[in-house]
Symmetry: C2
Subunit: 192 residues, 2 copies
């Protein structure tokens, strides 16, 4: 049988996660320092890396969890039928994704599963984004000459483009949501 995980392990892991969340709550994601976390959790630095491959792995878990809970709320909404409704309903997700430059960069970097090995929590969230939008689009008032899943991929691509622009010195004039609406109207409007 599988060697059982010691209770101690779970306790230590929980302490590390709690300490991390506390730091992030106080100072934001970007400011998190491993040293600070282990001090707050009362463990040695090496222990941190026995529990998480690296700092990014911890971040992926924390950001993934947060994003996942936002998805839960978003999915509770009635399916949007129009582009403005779609944007409004997705707003909490996009807001979190662009809440910190650090968060956005990490999301993008992990959006397609880290270069290495298996798919992580952030990649799962991007898949979920895709799946949710696809379902919505199946019954929304949008073009039907291309499949809903292709449309959904496009929505994701345009959302990322619009979010990048938010961090861009060049396009600061136009707001993220105006930009996204223009994109999505062009992408989703039924061909007449």
């Amino acid at each position: 049988m599988q060697k059982a995980v010691q209770k101690r392990t779970l306790r230590t892991r929980a302490r590390l996660l709690a300490a991390s969340e506390e730091v992030i709550h106080r100072e934001g994601y970007e400011a998190l320092r491993v040293e600070e976390v282990v001090k707050a959790a009362g463990v040695a630095k090496g222990t941190f890396f026995a529990h998480f491959r690296d700092k990014d792995a911890l971040m992926e878990i924390l950001i993934g969890e947060r994003l996942s809970s936002i998805f839960d709320q978003v999915e509770a909404n009635l399916p949007p039928k129009t582009v403005p409704e779609l944007i409004r309903v997705l707003k909490p997700i996009h807001s979190f994704m662009t809440s910190e430059r650090y968060v956005f960069d990490l999301l993008i970097r992990y959006s397609g599963a880290a270069a290495v090995a298996e798919i992580g929590p952030i990649a799962h969230c991007f898949e979920r984004y895709f799946r949710v939008v696809e379902n919505w689009l199946t019954y929304a008032d949008v073009r039907k000459d291309v499949s809903a899943d292709l449309l959904a991929e496009g929505v994701q691509a345009f959302a990322i483009q619009a979010m990048s622009l938010k961090f861009c010195a060049l396009h600061e004039a136009q707001s993220f949501e105006d930009k996204l609406e223009i994109y999505l109207e062009a992408w989703l409007t039924p061909a007449t």
Copy 2:
């Protein structure tokens, strides 16, 4: 009058750039170490940072230059008229962008001008991408119900999406170019 830049400054900078290029040529972008560069250039570490804000700033210059020269070649082509032609003509650019994960990440991170201040060489390249595609699309056989500049932004968004997928464990089956062609056919085909 402006205090003239000392000749020494230009010489040192040139040495640093040459040393960097040499290292990158030998070992790739990711492997570049500042220590190695300064040793090869025969200067102290502090000097490096007097010439470049940080390591990323050097990378931006080198990658930007390389990308820029690829654009020069690409622009020498006849304007593409169809989606497959468009993809074929852009191929050298996309190939370089995805040549190393490190390069792709850095490009994305700087695509919209670093969070701070003024627009850098990489952001210029992304603007150039946009402008070039826009010009092509103006005379290509594509939908005309939305403006060429919006179409061009979409092409960029889809290209980035397709490139991300290249680094994604999930979608490895489908090739970058097949994916991009599907996207662009749906995005650019004239509404009938």
